[in-house]
Subunit: 384 residues, 2 copies
């Protein structure tokens, strides 16, 4: 096992009716900036529940945060937060709203002229406004981690900030808020969660059996609960199990002491930047290709995954690895997500910019740092 | 799944060489009270490593904290902490030293005359001195939870304080510090960890499959790594895996959203109070008896445990439950711990005080609150 530090200070309040806890959680703050997206929270009752819980607070609303949140949108909120002198930001929505909120919280306190600097150059933050969230879409794990991914249309960049200052102080997870999600978003959330786990698990063994089994626990839960969620959107326990799985998949626990391979996310981000394809769908397209390309290096873990998660048997390890990848593809397809470029009407020729963008950006990807521009081109071909 | 709150602010620094991190972790503090036990840390090099890392701090030492730490011992440290005006307490040792340290940290800030009041009457704390730990014995999970168990010889009490104020600010876990532990303490630690998981897992199903699988992950890890640790005390990864398993077994994660049954611990505490038997050994004696007594109520979970953790097969659920309990007993015996009262030269007649003490103390035990004094007597008979 590798050395590690684990520190996750976010308080999770989980369960039906938990939005009412907001009033006591926000008691110490005077002026709240409430951030949200396109207004779906006004249709499903979440908006009313939040405002009711905040009836004793001064609340300023900032809406219109898009999926794959844009730097320009965030900067509008930064100006409002500064002008209004807010002392807390409350995100109400999914991972995009929360990622934007984290960036806004950091940018408000950033001493430089241009907050994009700290994300582009991975500069350490000194401070951020305190923030919390009411989560309405289980997927990104943003509710319990220090990560935010922000896009910048004018440069075609999609980059991550990872800094302990932007851990939410609290996150409220009420599974009932997810009942009204469109099927596509539920499927995306399951895929996103699944791939988060795979990227912390399918690398090479470092004798960390508990981390492995926790990863397998989440994968099996997604495989069992995912189809139920698609069929019975209002089954509370199914929604609760998916929501808790999504949080634990990326709350920094699984990755402690083990290597990680975030190449699927990094290649996928480029596809979203180019063609605005749903984040999770880019993962479903590229994960199988990455696994095929890195099959030899990931062989031991692919075999273990095939046996323990998919119940495969046999001794031919190459065949087991192939079958495990095929099972993964089948699972994604059963959720109705695309698993190849052709599924989204693209060809490898359409996405040559992915390798180019990577070349410009630099360092090689993967747990062995062996995925450079050339390998990305090969992976793109495998994703055809 | 039940509603829950999850909040664990302790920072874990894990791995070989991590004691050196103390100097930066303690930079904000002026005067440190360093607590430890009987001096084993002076034999295994931990004492020197700690003092070296603290060379820039003012350190006051308080040694002699015993297993099942005593109120009277803690109160001596409280006086020193107050007289010396220390602003941080550093526990160096196992769960007993750390539990004592938590109690001391709370007692220093307790406004009343008699700090025993808050433990006896489960009063809420308002404050505690900040504390941290260097852990040398994986077992209790105290390094990452808000619990402390303190004994009071003159009244025969052994009681727990559970309060967020006593979460360690940080815990340093270096598996190499466990190389020199006596075999008996390693075995005890494995049993303690195993029983912690069982008490959060073997209750009744509430449709929380991820919590179940996380529990099973830890149990399987203990079954696989435990015997290796006994045979190869200096195998780093084995020790690391046990240490991380012990932390995750009782860091408040497994119990979120599910019922718990702490009757084995509560009955075991009485046995320690009466005959000073190692805490973990009391658990190995009473867990099988509790499971036998509650077999019907716990049937679904016992069957699942037998199948998933022990690989049992067959359809006869009563037989599966019996076999699962037998496997548990075999595992404890393989570690050389006693599994019955007769193994520690006692008879049920010797421990009639357990049921009496419970009767005096009050409320019924178990996830169904159906284990009263009479049932405890039956459990004691089953543990004969």
């Amino acid at each position: 096992m590798n050395n590690f530090t684990f520190h996750n200070p976010t308080k999770i309040i989980f369960g039906k009716g938990s939005i009412a806890e907001l009033s006591s959680l926000l008691k110490p703050y005077k002026k709240i900036l409430m951030t949200y997206g396109g207004g779906s929270i006004k249709k499903n009752g979440v908006y009313e529940q939040v405002l009711k819980a905040l009836s004793d607070c001064t609340v300023i609303e900032f809406s219109g945060i898009e999926a794959n949140p844009q730097y320009s949108t965030c900067m509008k909120a930064v100006r409002i937060a500064k002008d209004e002198n807010v002392d807390f930001i409350l995100s109400v929505g999914g991972g995009s709203v929360l990622d934007a909120t984290k960036f806004i919280a950091a940018a408000v306190k950033w001493p430089g002229e241009e907050p994009w600097d700290f994300i582009r150059d991975s500069l350490e933050l000194r401070d951020a406004l305190p923030l919390g969230c009411v989560l309405t879409l289980p997927a990104t794990g943003s509710e319990s981690n220090p990560n935010a991914v922000i896009s910048r249309a004018e440069t075609g960049e999609k980059l991550a900030v990872i800094d302990d200052h932007v851990f939410p102080r609290f996150s409220i997870l009420d599974p009932e808020t997810t009942y009204t999600l469109p099927e596509r978003q539920i499927a995306n959330g399951i895929v996103d969660t699944f791939v988060h786990v795979m990227e912390q698990y399918i690398t090479y063994p470092v004798n960390a059996p508990l981390q492995d089994r926790f990863a397998e626990s989440i994968l099996i839960t997604l495989i069992e609960e995912g189809p139920k969620a698609m069929e019975q959107p209002r089954d509370y326990n199914t929604r609760a199990n998916l929501m808790w799985a999504a949080t634990l998949a990326l709350n920094t626990l699984l990755s402690r002491g083990v290597p990680g391979d975030w190449s699927t996310h990094q290649i996928g981000h480029e596809l979203t930047a180019l063609y605005d394809i749903d984040h999770a769908r880019t993962l479903a397209i590229f994960l199988p290709a990455v696994l095929k390309h890195q099959k030899k290096a990931k062989s031991a873990k692919l075999v273990q995954y095939g046996r323990r998660v998919w119940g495969l048997s046999g001794e031919d390890e190459d065949k087991l690895a192939d079958e495990a990848i095929a099972k993964t593809v089948d699972f994604f397809q059963s959720l109705g997500v695309p698993v190849s470029l052709s599924d989204v009407d693209l060809t490898p020729a359409d996405v040559t910019n992915i390798a180019k963008a990577h070349k410009k950006r630099g360092s090689a990807l993967g747990e062995h740092k062996n995925i450079g521009a050339e390998e990305i081109e090969e992976i793109v071909q495998l994703a055809a």
